[in-house]
C-alpha cells in the first residue's frame, strides 16, 4: 500500500500546479454525489426515491416534516390540534410564507395539494396515504381543518412524506421541470444526465441556511463514484453504492464515513402461495439455511444489522427475534425431510438490480444449495421485477429491501406479492390504526412482529445501513435516512 501513499504526495503537488490551487475560503457551496438521477422534480407525481433526495425539505415542504432521528416535527404548519375522537385535525400555518414565484402560501394551497393527491384521477404514487381524508376546509388564510373518514394514528407521519408536500395551483402545470416550492433552495439549473444545481432562496420564510449553492451530481457506476470522491470531484456522496470502499475513505484524513440506519428491511421474500412454500416447515427450513452475518460481510462488507422480523431495529418498538431463525443447516435439512423433500427441490430466485440483491443472491444461492435447495438465479431490471415478481407473483424467492418507513402493514394485504394476509394479522393492523396511545401501539407492533416471524412468512436478512461519505470539514449531514432525503438545511462547512 505504501506506493499508493507516495502517489498521493506527488499527485497533490501536480494537481495543485494544474488547477492553480483555488484558495480554501470558507466555502458556501457544496457538491453532493447521488447514484440515481430523478426522472423529474415533482415528488407528488412519482415514487422514485431520487426525487425526494433532491427536493425534500430543500425545495418543497409539507405540513409536517421528518427530523434526522425520524421523529415528526412541524413544517409549514407551526402547530395543530387533534379532536378527541382523532377524526379532525386543525393545522395553524406559518404566516408570510411565499412560493419561489413570489405567490403567497396559504390554506387554499394546502386544500389544493391534499385534494389533488386524493382525487379520483390522481397519479400520486402513495395515494393510500390520503385514503382516509373525508374533507379539507380552509377555515381562514392561516388555518386548515382536515376531517378523516376513520381514525388513522399515523396521519401526521403520513403528512411528512415527500408525496404530501404543498404545491400551488398557479405553478402546477410544469412542476416536473420547473419545481416551485416553499423551501430554502430554488432550482437554478438542470443538465440532464449530469447534475442539478440549487441556489439559496433569498426570501425564505424559515431560519436562514448557511449554504448559498448546492449541486447534485449523478454517478451510477460504483467505481466512478469511488473515483469521483477520491478525486474530490464531489464533496459528499450519500447512499454510497459500494460499501467495500468505505474502509479506504475511513483511513483517509480528508474524508469521514457516516454510517446510520435506514427504513430498508432487506428480506428474502418467499411466495407463500407457491408449493412447496405454502408449507410453513419448508419456509422455516429456508430461514435456518441462511447465515445472515455471512451475507452482511460478503455482500455489504459488514455494513448492516441482522433482523429477525420486518421492522427497523432503530425503532423503539423493535424486538430482536433473530434467534427464531438462527443459522442451523442441520435443522434445515431435518425440516426438509419432515416435509417430504429429503433430497431438496429446485426453485427460482429473481433479483432486482441493486448490488445488495445481486451479491446477496449469489451468497444465498450457495447457502441454500448446501441444504439441498437449488435455485436458478435470474437478474431482472426493475421494470421486469415489478412485472414478473411484484404484480405477476411469478417467483419462488426474491430479495428486495423495503425502504418505506413503518411498512409492516404490507403483511396484512392479501394481494401483496409474498401473499400472506393472515386474518389474525389483519385484525392486529385494524387495532393498531384505532389506537393513538404510544405504549399500546408498541405492544400491538411487537405482537405483529412476533406473528410474522413465527410464521416464517419471509427470511428476514438485515436492515440496510445508510452509508455516506463526506469531506471531513462538512457538518450537519444526516447519518440516518428515516426517509429518502438529503436535507441540506442544517449543512455547513466548518473551516
Amino acid at each position: 500500500m505504501t506506493n499508493m501513499k507516495t502517489g498521493y504526495v506527488i499527485a497533490a503537488a501536480v494537481a495543485i500546479a494544474l488547477t492553480g490551487g483555488a484558495a480554501q475560503a470558507a466555502k458556501t457551496d457544496i457538491v453532493i454525489g447521488l447514484q440515481l438521477e430523478p426522472p423529474h422534480l415533482d415528488p407528488t407525481g412519482a415514487a422514485a426515491g431520487a426525487i425526494d433526495q433532491v427536493v425534500y425539505s430543500n425545495v418543497f415542504e409539507g405540513l409536517t416534516r421528518f427530523a434526522s432521528d425520524g421523529s415528526i416535527i412541524p413544517g409549514l404548519a407551526k402547530s395543530w390540534e387533534i379532536s378527541d375522537d382523532g377524526l379532525s385535525y386543525i393545522f395553524h400555518l406559518n404566516e408570510g410564507v411565499t412560493f419561489h414565484d413570489g405567490s403567497a402560501m396559504d390554506a387554499e394551497d394546502v386544500k389544493f395539494s391534499l385534494d389533488r393527491a386524493r382525487a379520483e384521477d390522481s397519479t400520486n404514487a402513495q395515494k393510500a396515504l390520503f385514503a382516509d381524508i373525508a374533507s379539507v376546509e380552509a377555515m381562514d388564510l392561516a388555518t386548515v381543518k382536515v376531517t378523516l373518514s376513520k381514525q388513522n394514528g399515523s396521519f401526521l407521519f403520513n403528512m411528512a412524506w415527500g408525496d404530501a408536500v404543498i404545491v400551488a395551483p398557479e405553478s402546477i402545470a410544469d412542476i416536473k421541470t420547473k419545481p416551485i416550492g416553499t423551501g430554502p433552495f430554488v432550482l437554478s439549473n438542470w443538465v440532464q444526465g449530469d447534475r442539478i444545481e440549487l441556489a439559496k432562496n433569498p426570501d425564505y420564510w424559515g431560519s436562514a441556511i448557511s449554504l448559498d449553492k448546492a449541486t447534485f451530481k449523478f454517478i451510477s457506476d460504483p467505481t466512478a463514484a469511488f473515483a469521483a470522491v477520491m478525486a474530490e470531484d464531489v464533496n459528499a456522496f450519500m447512499a454510497f453504492p459500494a460499501p467495500e470502499n468505505l474502509p479506504q475513505f475511513d483511513a483517509d484524513p480528508r474524508f469521514k464515513v457516516l454510517v446510520g440506519s435506514t427504513e430498508g428491511e432487506t428480506i428474502l421474500a418467499i411466495n407463500n402461495k407457491l408449493p412447496p412454500f405454502d408449507n410453513v416447515k419448508i419456509r422455516e427450513a429456508v430461514a435456518h439455511a441462511i447465515d445472515r452475518q455471512a451475507i452482511i460481510d460478503g455482500a455489504m462488507f459488514g455494513y448492516g444489522t441482522p433482523i429477525g422480523t420486518h421492522f427497523a431495529p432503530h425503532n423503539p418498538a423493535y424486538i430482536d427475534l433473530t434467534a427464531l431463525s438462527a443459522y442451523d443447516p442441520e435443522k434445515s435439512k431435518a425440516l426438509l425431510a419432515e416435509a417430504g423433500f429429503a433430497d431438496g427441490f429446485t426453485t427460482t430466485l429473481k433479483l432486482p438490480p441493486p448490488s445488495y440483491a445481486r451479491r446477496g443472491g449469489e451468497i444465498i444461492a450457495s447457502q441454500l444449495k448446501a441444504v439441498g435447495i437449488t435455485v436458478e438465479i435470474s437478474n431482472l431490471e426493475w421494470a421486469q421485477w415489478l412485472e414478473q415478481v411484484f404484480r405477476g407473483k411469478d417467483f419462488g424467492l426474491s430479495i428486495v429491501s423495503h425502504t418505506e418507513p413503518m411498512d409492516i402493514g404490507i403483511y396484512g394485504r392479501e394481494d401483496y406479492y409474498f401473499q400472506y394476509g393472515k386474518p389474525e394479522f389483519q385484525a392486529l393492523m385494524a387495532e393498531l390504526n384505532a389506537t393513538t396511545d404510544p405504549a399500546e401501539r408498541t405492544s400491538i407492533l411487537q405482537a405483529a412482529q412476533t406473528m410474522i416471524s413465527e410464521d416464517y412468512v419471509n427470511a428476514y436478512l438485515f436492515q440496510l445501513a445508510n452509508t455516506g461519505v463526506a469531506n471531513a470539514k462538512i457538518e450537519g449531514l444526516w447519518a440516518n435516512a428515516p426517509t429518502q432525503a438529503v436535507d441540506l438545511t442544517g449543512v455547513s462547512w466548518t473551516d
Binding site: A12, H40, A47, T123, Q126, A227, A231, D233, A383, Q388
Partner: protein
C-alpha cells in the same frame, strides 16, 4: 454521378424504413410497462391506468408507429415517458457528448494509425514493422473497458491528472470539456487505431506490389517517393471503408465506456431508458444511430469517387 447518388438515396430510404419497422416491432415485444415502473411498489392499479392514459400508451400500436414516424420526419420525436421532456431535446444534449467523443476518438485513432501503418509497410520485416505489429496485436486484444478501468485507476485516482469522469458541459470552457473527454477517447481509440494501422499496412503492401509502382521506380522515383506519390492514394479505398465502419461503431458502441466514465452520452441514455422502459426514447435513439450509420456509409461511397476517378462516371 447524379444518377448514382439518386439510386443510392432511394435504396437508403428503403432500408431506413425497414429498419424503423424492425425497431418498432422489437420494442413492442419488450415486456415491462413504463407507467408501473414510474409509480413504484405501492401504486394502485387505478393510478397506473390513469398514468397510462396520460402518457398515451393505450393508443393502438399502428397509430403509435405512424405518429412516431411522421413525428420523426418533422423533427418531433415525441415526449419521454419517464423524463416528461421532448425526446429531441434529450437527444440534442446527449449528442453534444457522443458526437465529439466519437470524432475525438476517430481523430486520435487516425493520427496514430496512419504513421504507424506507413512506417510498418515501408520498412517491411524490420524491427519497426514487428514492433508496430506487436503493439497493434495487443491493442486489438485488450478489452477497452478493462483498459479504461486501469486508466481511471492510474490517471484519475492515483495521479489525479484527469477527473475520474463526468462531463462539465461545453459552456464550462472548451478545453476543460476536451480534457474530460480525453481518457474515454483514448480507451475508445486504442482498439480502433490498432485495427486501422493493420489495415493501412496491408493495403499499402498490396499497392506497393502493383505494376504502376514498379513503373514509377523505373522513372527514377526512389522508394519513399513511389510510396507517397503513388501507393498511398491507391491504398485509401480499403482504409476509408474501415474509417467509415469505425465511426459508426464509435457513435453507438461507446455504451460501456460512457458507463465507466459516467458520461451522459447517447449510449448511456439508451441503456438507462431500456431499464426504465422509456421505450419512446429507445426507439428514437436507435433509429438515429441507424440513420447515422447509413449516412456515414453513404458519404464513404462519395469519398470513394473523390479518391478513385474510375468511379467518377462521366455523364
Amino acid at each position: 454521378m447524379l444518377r448514382y447518388t439518386l439510386k443510392r438515396l432511394l435504396s437508403l430510404s428503403v432500408s431506413l424504413l425497414v429498419a424503423s419497422i424492425i425497431i418498432f416491432l422489437a420494442i413492442e415485444v419488450v415486456p415491462g410497462d413504463p407507467a408501473s415502473y414510474m409509480l413504484g411498489i405501492n401504486a394502485q392499479p387505478d393510478t397506473i391506468a390513469a398514468l397510462r392514459e396520460e402518457l398515451g400508451l393505450n393508443v393502438s400500436a399502428v397509430e403509435r408507429y405512424v405518429n412516431w414516424v411522421s413525428g420523426m420526419l418533422t423533427g418531433n420525436f415525441g415526449t419521454s415517458y419517464t423524463y416528461r421532456t421532448p425526446v429531441v431535446d434529450m437527444i440534442g444534449d446527449r449528442m453534444w457528448i457522443s458526437l465529439p467523443l466519437a470524432l475525438y476518438a476517430l481523430l486520435l485513432s487516425t493520427l496514430i494509425a496512419f504513421p504507424a501503418g506507413i512506417l510498418a509497410a515501408s520498412k517491411r520485416g524490420s524491427v519497426a514493422d514487428t514492433l508496430v505489429m506487436g503493439i497493434t496485436q495487443l491493442g486489438v486484444a485488450i478489452p477497452n473497458f478493462w483498459f479504461a478501468m486501469l486508466m481511471v485507476l492510474v490517471f484519475a485516482i492515483n495521479l489525479r491528472w484527469f477527473s475520474a469522469g463526468g462531463f462539465p458541459g461545453w459552456d464550462g470552457g472548451f478545453w476543460l470539456a476536451v480534457k474530460a473527454l480525453t481518457l474515454p477517447a483514448v480507451s475508445l481509440a486504442l482498439p480502433q487505431a490498432s485495427i486501422l494501422a493493420r489495415v493501412m499496412r496491408s493495403a499499402l503492401l498490396d499497392t506497393l506490389g502493383e505494376d504502376f509502382v514498379r513503373s514509377a521506380r523505373a522513372k527514377g522515383l526512389n522508394r519513399r517517393q513511389a510510396l507517397w506519390r503513388h501507393a498511398l492514394r491507391n491504398a485509401m479505398i480499403p482504409v476509408l471503408t474501415i474509417i467509415g465502419l469505425q465511426f459508426s461503431f464509435l457513435l453507438a458502441g461507446a455504451i460501456i465506456i460512457e458507463n465507466v466514465f459516467f458520461l451522459p452520452g447517447l449510449g448511456r441514455l439508451v441503456f438507462q431508458s431500456i431499464s426504465q422502459r422509456d421505450l419512446i426514447v429507445v426507439e428514437s435513439v436507435v433509429m438515429l444511430l441507424v440513420f447515422a450509420v447509413v449516412i456515414v456509409n453513404f458519404s464513404v461511397d462519395i469519398a470513394y469517387a473523390l479518391v478513385d476517378p474510375r468511379l467518377r462516371r462521366r455523364s
